[in-house]
């Protein structure tokens, strides 16, 4: 009703904020308290869901990293900032290991798609964000060895995800072990069957009986 009352009310709010910024403790979260964090000296605790540049994970020693150089992440990367070359053994046969794994952090847009598409849980998004450097061409092109980080690091920054990934990997390992065992058993059975068949053959060479068991014992 009074012309200018709203202005006075608004000015009261700013004045109270001005006064409270001196009287209330910084960071206490009260109305009017300062919210500034003096960054290089003080930091806010990192959130677990924070996602930033990717890194490559390895379990025990840097040689056996989880990455198998399947090139899926490089194909799916929207800005195409990943470059992978498979390692080859002496004979020139490609191995399941990257010889070159480069990520250009000047191009990377922190989308996290590489993490999502990786079928081997080998690449994850890090919490590292202070990568500023004076040289943008060489220093920000991260090579394989710069990207390597341990599983412990992953557990440290993202404990929940780490646990989940580990159980998943353990399950997969178990499944693989079971499968291996099954395959081994099957192979054994096959071998046994073969031996048996050969024996039978040997015996039946005289009896002229066709071998049938060979097909049935095929594991898959």
């Amino acid at each position: 009703m009074f012309f200018g009352l709203g202005i006075l009310r608004g000015m009261n709010i700013t004045l109270m904020n001005f006064i409270r910024s001196y009287t209330r403790k910084r960071g206490s979260g009260e109305i009017g308290a300062l919210t500034t964090v003096q960054y290089p000296e003080e930091r806010l605790p990192e959130k677990e869901k924070f996602r930033n540049f990717p890194f490559l994970i390895y379990d025990d020693k840097p040689e056996d990293l989880r990455c198998v150089a399947c090139d899926i992440c490089a194909q799916d990367c929207p800005p195409r900032c990943i470059y992978i070359v498979k390692e080859t053994d002496e004979a020139g046969k490609p191995m399941k290991k990257p010889a070159v794994f480069d990520i250009d952090f000047t191009v990377c847009m922190n989308c996290g798609i590489c993490e999502e598409v990786c079928p081997f849980d080998a690449i994850f998004m890090d919490h590292e964000f202070e990568i500023a450097d004076s040289d943008r061409h060489d220093k920000l092109l991260y090579h394989r060895d710069d990207l390597l980080k341990t599983n412990e690091h992953f557990h440290k920054i993202r404990p929940n995800d780490g646990r989940e990934v580990d159980t998943r990997l353990a399950e997969a390992k178990e499944a693989k072990a079971k499968k291996d065992e099954a395959r081994k058993k099957a192979a054994e059975a096959k071998a046994a069957a073969k031996a048996k068949a050969e024996a039978e053959k040997a015996t039946e060479a005289k009896e002229d009986k066709p071998p049938e068991t060979e097909k049935e014992s095929d594991p898959q």
């Binding site: 000015m11 709010i13 700013t14 004045l15 001005f18 910024s21 300062l34």
Partner: protein
């Protein structure tokens, strides 16, 4: 203590009188005043930027600059160095001479106004007997500089900002001068010193009804004159980049910045002189009183900036022409009534209440007349 600076100047002049003929003494006296003002202006500007950033930061629950020096006290120096070493860009199709001259032409009036500000007892650089008129005249020269900057840059946004700024400055100059007239009526002189002298013994004009209204109108118009928020349409970042100084960089931009802050100071100082008793005050030295009052007003300016959103162009013009101008005209009448009723005494109830009633009535009437068109609140029966 009160006459510290006056004594220093007298000592300097006395020193030169011993060595040189007497006409050099006059020149020395002039030079001392000029050097003092030429140093004071930029110094005030530098620390006003720091104060502004600090105060606005505190109002927004931030800390503000605190890295360079203790409490960020050296921040203005760092800013100055940054401004000086920046590249100085002149647009290719710009009018080069105008582009170069405009910042100078804007700073010079802002600095000239310092000459008539009474900083303390006997501390007016030039006691012109047309001091207030000098203030009004010199601050109106700034429009030419803004035109030059706007047109010389050869940039659409510059011209838009310049047009807006000049329209605004012309509009607000009228209620500003009109709101000074009551003071001149009461004092009977245009000299700033005489105005301050007339307000001795706590007879500050702001304690009278017409003085209070005049103070508010003058200060608001002053805020608009130096293009400060909420009247900063001329350099509205979100609409026209930076207005008339879009194309300026480096030290030339710093000159615009300097002019803005120095005129903020002179407007506050003039309000202090005209309505808040100038350097009058008990106990403390007179110049300290002047600076205390002036910085109080500057704090209010910063407070405005932290609180109020920018006005629209039509609101801006409507405020000046339809509200402040009639009100300041009524204020002159109220002053005359006060003058005849009070009979040379500063405070008499009749002389206080009759103008107050008149002003409140006209305020209310203008408010009613200026009520903006409000459409009726729409009702959607089917929705509810």
């Amino acid at each position: 203590m009160d006459q510290m600076f006056v004594n220093i100047k007298a000592a300097l002049v006395g020193l030169s009188d011993k060595v040189f003929p007497d006409w050099v003494g006059v020149l020395v006296s002039i030079a001392v005043s000029i050097v003092a003002i030429a140093l004071l202006g930029p110094l005030i500007m530098m620390y006003l930027t720091l104060i502004e950033r600090k105060v606005v930061a505190r109002m927004q629950n931030r800390i503000g600059p605190n890295r360079v020096g203790k409490y960020g006290l050296l921040q203005p120096l760092a800013d100055g160095v940054k401004m000086l070493i920046k590249e100085d860009i002149v647009p290719r199709n710009a009018d080069k001479v105008l582009h170069l001259l405009a910042p100078i032409l804007i700073v010079a009036p802002a600095l000239l106004v310092f000459a008539v500000l009474p900083f303390g007892r006997n501390m007016t650089a030039v006691d012109l007997n047309v001091g207030i008129l000098f203030f009004a005249a010199i601050s109106s020269i700034g429009t030419i500089g803004i035109f030059m900057a706007a047109w010389g840059s050869n940039n659409k946004f510059s011209v838009l900002g310049g047009m807006r700024s000049v329209a605004q400055m012309i509009s607000y100059e009228i209620p500003m001068v009109m709101s000074v007239v009551p003071v001149l009526l009461a004092v009977g002189s245009l000299s700033t010193n005489a105005i301050v002298e007339a307000q001795a013994d706590w007879h500050w004009f702001v304690f009278t009804p017409w003085g209070f209204l005049g103070c508010v109108i003058f200060f608001l118009c002053g805020v608009a004159e130096c293009n400060r928020s909420p009247f900063d349409l001329a350099e509205a970042e979100s609409e026209i980049i930076a207005g008339f100084h879009t194309e300026y960089s480096g030290m030339k931009f710093a000159l615009f910045y300097m002019a803005e802050f120095m005129s903020a100071f002179t407007i506050s100082g003039m309000t202090t002189t005209l309505f808040l008793g100038g350097w009058q005050g008990p106990l403390l030295p007179s110049w300290l009183w002047f600076f205390l009052k002036t910085y109080g007003l500057i704090f209010i300016m910063l407070w405005f900036r932290a609180t109020l959103p920018r006005l629209r162009v039509d609101q801006l013009m409507a405020l000046a022409w339809k509200f402040l101008l009639p009100l300041s005209l009524v204020n002159i009448v109220a002053t005359c009534i006060w003058h005849f009723l009070s009979d040379e005494a500063f405070f008499t109830p009749a002389a206080f209440l009759v103008p107050l009633a008149l002003l409140v009535f006209s305020y209310w009437g203008l408010m009613k007349l200026n009520q903006p068109y409000m459409p009726e609140k729409r009702v959607y029966p089917l929705v509810d």
